[in-house]
Amino acid sequence: MRSNGRTDEHQLRPLSASFGVLSRADGSSRFGFGTTEVLASVFGPKEVRIRDEKIDSATLQISVRPLNGLSGPLHRLAERQLRDLIEAAVLASIHPRSAIQVTIQVTGDDGCFMSAAVNAASLALLDAGVAQRHLLASVTLAFDPNGTLLLDPSLKELETAKSVHTFTFSNSNDAVIAGVSSEGVYSQDEYKQACTVAQQACATIHSFYRKTMEQKLAPQ
């Protein structure tokens, strides 16, 4: 029996997503795996400082802010990984010499805040009407000490995990890994197993996006 009532290892916590949460931002969204919740906001295309200006595309300014405590190198790496993902997803060449600012605020952290951040960022870009090639869905997996693969682990499960993997897939081509970041000690077949389970989990998240979007737009 896993924490918060989940029976099967490969079961996601209840997903939650909402749009237009903030009034000042051009686009905003909140995404959650159970109690892990992340708020993402998008400003742009907006004015950029001469220093960061690029002549052929928009400059992506990513900022990840933790719930409590000072932000450290962990958040800088999260920002760099998010930028690699979003740079491939957003058609930045449409708005040269401008900035697209994505800000992530963790509002509840019970494990896998990074995956929630990727999903929230992708939905916020959708809400802001920024042209994108594809949407991103991310999920985290962990191998517990006796080798079983847990999907969407909670904080307790992460503390005792042997290895933790975060996979991101796009909705247009699931043969390409949009992003992967894994740590700890694991074998190549464990990596392969995690990759296939992640593929299906991301597919369910993509269909969850579509359902939420239909509810938002369909009633009109």
Binding site: L70, S71, G72, P73
Partner: protein, 293 residues
């Protein structure tokens, strides 16, 4: 102290283990035979062997590595590059240089935090004043030359609490000046002459209360404060353009005796620098020039 949130953090405070009460293998201190001789048997005006080479950092326009005694210094020169807009005075006055000296965390006995220390600021400023007169900056209008120095090993100036600041200055400034000038020459920056640095310790003989000097003191000579029977009371570092024979940088502090003594000490340093220049610096430059054929 403010924890540096931009680095991987270890424990709050950590200490260097204290030496054992009874030294397991007591190192015998050899009593120097020569009256004015030193622990390592050098004469008062003899200079330690100095190893210098160029072309160490491929990315830089010019670079140099200098090793003397326990001190290892790497210098890289980038330039000429555009002057940052904030720093431009009247741009017709020719180029400018900016110096930045850094101690590596593993350079000294105690692991140094990544924060900048006062010793690094004073080293940068003194280096800047020592190099400026030698460079022909008029040939490079509106541009800036960045001189970066990374001290890989500095014996342990920070281990002597009272005048750690002073001894780190005297020990490190001289090799920095030599390395910087070598790197500038390697970067083909036009200069009147290369600049060589040398330090000199001033000791007072307890019995005769007379001052005497020792050229190119090692860290032990400063730390143990007794050298050839004298007590270490002062310190002097000189930067010299050997071929033209002009002194470009002079830092003296402590009890440096009367004017006569000071002139004599400076002259000794100038001769020592000329020797270093002749034997080591020119050879290094010529070697690296030929290597580029």
């Amino acid at each position: 102290m403010a924890l540096d949130s931009k680095r991987i953090k270890g424990p709050e405070k950590s200490f260097v283990p204290l030496p054992l009460l009874v030294q397991s293998t007591p190192t015998p201190t050899p009593t120097s035979t020569k009256t004015k001789g030193r622990i390592d048997g050098r004469g008062t005006d003899e200079v330690r062997p100095l190893f210098a080479t160029t072309r160490l950092v491929r990315q830089a326009s010019g670079s140099a590595f200098v090793e003397v005694g326990g001190v290892k210094v790497v210098c890289a020169v980038y330039g000429p590059k555009p002057v940052p807009a904030s720093k431009v005075q009247d741009h017709h006055s020719g180029g400018r240089i900016s110096c930045d000296v850094r101690l590596s965390p593993f350079a000294a006995l105690k692991r140094k935090q990544f924060m900048k220390e006062p010793a690094e600021h004073s080293l940068s400023n003194n280096l800047h004043t020592a190099l400026l007169p030698s460079l022909l900056l008029a040939h490079l209008p509106k541009s800036q030359i960045d001189i970066h120095i990374q001290i890989l090993q500095a014996q342990n100036p920070t281990s002597i609490p009272p005048n750690a600041f002073v001894s780190s200055l005297s020990l490190l400034l001289a090799p920095c000046i030599t390395a910087a000038s070598l790197a500038l020459a390697d970067a083909q920056i036009e200069m009147m002459d290369s600049v060589v640095g040398c330090n000199l310790g001033i000791y007072r003989n307890p019995s005769t209360q007379k001052l005497f000097w020792m050229v190119d003191c090692t860290e032990e000579e400063i730390e143990t404060r007794s050298n050839g029977g004298g007590v270490w009371v002062g310190n002097c570092v000189v930067g010299v353009m050997p071929s033209i024979g002009k002194v470009t940088g002079l830092v003296m502090d402590g009890d440096i005796g009367d004017v006569g003594f000071v002139m004599e000490a400076v002259q000794v340093c100038v001769d020592a620098c000329a020797k270093i220049h002749e034997v080591v610096v020119k050879k290094a430059l010529i070697e690296s020039a030929q290597a580029k054929e």
